[in-house]
């Protein structure tokens, strides 16, 4: 039975602005290669890079309050995510260890319900 996971790529919230254009391009090339490799193997089923945390809007459904910013003020935030199908956590850890861009990758198992 395969498990589903969400990989959350954690960064400083504002993207890699401090890098030079050359470095940035090289990094995007590595990310592209990583994405292609794991999509081709069937493990990676989708995902996106996100706009910086400063663009976030938070809504509280119970009160209807809409706020500018992420729900948690933190130095680090999710810069992108990928949805992965794998036989077990070890396979995903091995994959995350090769992620070329951000400093941390959080792995969260996805709740899979019958018929979904």
């Amino acid at each position: 039975m395969k498990m589903k996971y969400m990989l959350m790529f954690v960064g400083d919230g504002e993207g890699p602005d401090s890098s030079s254009p050359d470095e940035l391009q090289a990094m995007y090339a590595r990310v592209g290669a990583w994405w292609e490799q794991h999509s081709a193997s069937g493990a990676l089923q989708g995902g996106h890079q996100l706009q910086p945390a400063s663009t976030a809007t938070t809504v509280e459904p119970a009160t209807g309050v809409v706020t500018d910013g992420p729900f948690l003020e933190a130095k680090e935030s999710i810069g992108g995510y990928g949805i992965v199908e794998a036989p077990d956590l070890d396979a995903v850890i091995a994959m995350a260890k090769t992620w070329p861009a951000s400093s941390k990758v959080e792995i969260r198992p996805i709740v899979v319900r019958d018929g979904m």
Binding site: M3, P87, D88, L89, D90, I93, A94, P109
Partner: protein, 404 residues
């Protein structure tokens, strides 16, 4: 024989049975039902029931089969109680076949010590699932609340199931890292028992004994790996000196003051043989080197005759595998016996930031300053060490040093 010693030895016999049987049984049930949490729970229930019955009725002739039968009955009970008759429970309840010959305990060890689990959870889970301790026994060993330990175990097992932690032996590529993780768990367990970091007594022999047993089991299950042999040798060497380490009043005795006639010769010889077996594989590692260092001490006829040159050399090698401030501190101590206290004090200076919160750093500094004829600074360093240690036996050793 008094009543207490009788029941204690009966208790020890029962614990030995659990150690032999629990891991095997859980291992095969996990494989059969595919559910780590459930298998572990059923066997724990069976152990608790055995603890109620065996002291009265005696240990059954085939304790493994008794535990298996009881675990099966526990599964049936749950099936009846539960409206959701799950396939997993039926698989366990229906399994009448005796335990397979194959040993699933290696997978079990690697699952319990998976790096995705917190170290405390790895320790508690390994003791419960592989060594067959009850939650109450684990709580007692770590002077923790039983409810806190139970909670830790529940959370860890939930993570294993929900996060998809694999129940398998790591691949060859993964093995070095994963083995290192298991050894770290076992060494922490052993140290907690051998040199308790808190609590009224300085040692908890049962915990150290369980850790040594687990390490022996691991060494047998991965016979081509040298590091488990190294850790096992290290544990034997610590145990060989255990009787000389604490005096009649429960006070810790420094290595240099220990009565070497109390050291266990056979254990030291056993450790030596283990180190040689490991060394023959020609893959040196941190535990083998630590064991080799301990062996040089153990084989030395007196403190004065200690071969500090060899010990220094071994610490230099150890730095290649484990470059930590504590290893550097130990190297500085060894060198102080070869090249003088002043040079070692300078080496210690580089470690000031990293080890300021470590009592042995200040104790060593105090010792060196005393030797260099700086008694005022020496006393200050010893006092700082005293403030930092929470082990009562180590505390009084430092208190005695302050007198001079």
């Amino acid at each position: 024989m008094t009543q207490t010693t009788t029941s204690e030895s009966a208790g020890a016999a029962v614990s030995r049975v659990f150690r032999e049987e629990a891991g095997r049984l859980i291992g095969s049930l996990v494989r059969r039902a595919g559910d780590f949490d459930l298998a572990e729970e059923l066997v724990q229930d069976a152990i608790v029931e055995a603890l109620e019955h065996w002291p009265v009725s005696g240990v059954p002739a085939n304790p493994g089969a008794w535990l298996q039968l009881t675990a099966r009955r526990k599964a049936l009970d749950r099936v009846r109680r539960s409206a959701l008759l799950t396939e997993k429970l039926r698989l366990v309840a229906a399994s009448e076949a005796p335990l397979e010959e194959s040993d699933d305990r290696l997978r079990l060890i690697f699952t319990c010590c998976h790096p995705a689990l917190a170290r405390e959870a790895q320790v508690a889970l390994t003791l419960r699932a592989v060594a067959g301790l009850t939650t109450a026994e684990i709580a007692h060993a770590f002077l923790a609340q039983e409810s806190a330990v139970a909670q830790r175990i529940v959370r860890a097992k939930r993570k294993i199931v929900r996060a998809g932690v694999a129940y398998r032996v790591p691949t060859a590529a993964e093995l070095p890292d994963r083995l290192e993780e298991v050894l770290a768990v076992l060494y922490l367990m052993f140290n907690e028992g051998y040199l308790a970091s808190s609590g009224p007594s300085a040692t908890r022999p049962r915990l150290a004994d369980d850790a040594e047993w687990l390490c022996g089991l691991l060494a047998n299950l991965v016979p081509a790996e040298p590091e488990p042999l190294g850790l096992l040798a290290l544990m034997r060497l610590h145990r060989a000196r255990a009787r000389a380490r604490v005096d009649r009043d429960g006070q810790l005795v420094l290595l240099q003051d220990q009565d070497r006639s109390l050291w266990g010769g056979p254990l030291i010889a056993e450790a030596g043989a283990l180190i040689e077996r490991a060394a023959a594989m020609r893959r040196p590692g941190a535990y083998q080197l630590e064991a080799a260092i301990a062996a040089v001490h153990a084989e030395s006829p007196s403190w004065e005759a200690t071969d500090w040159r060899q010990i220094s050399g071994l610490y230099v090698l150890l730095l290649r595998h484990r470059d930590t401030p504590v290893v550097r501190l130990n190297l500085a101590i060894a060198l102080s016996h070869v090249g003088g206290a002043a040079r070692s004090l300078a080496l210690l200076g580089e470690l000031a930031d990293a080890l300021d919160g470590y009592h042995l750093y200040h104790a060593t500094r105090g010792e060196l300053l005393k030797r260099l004829g700086r008694p005022g600074e020496a006393r200050a360093a010893h006092r700082r060490a005293l403030d930092l240690t929470s082990n009562p036996a180590e505390r009084s050793l430092l208190e005695r040093r302050l007198v001079f």
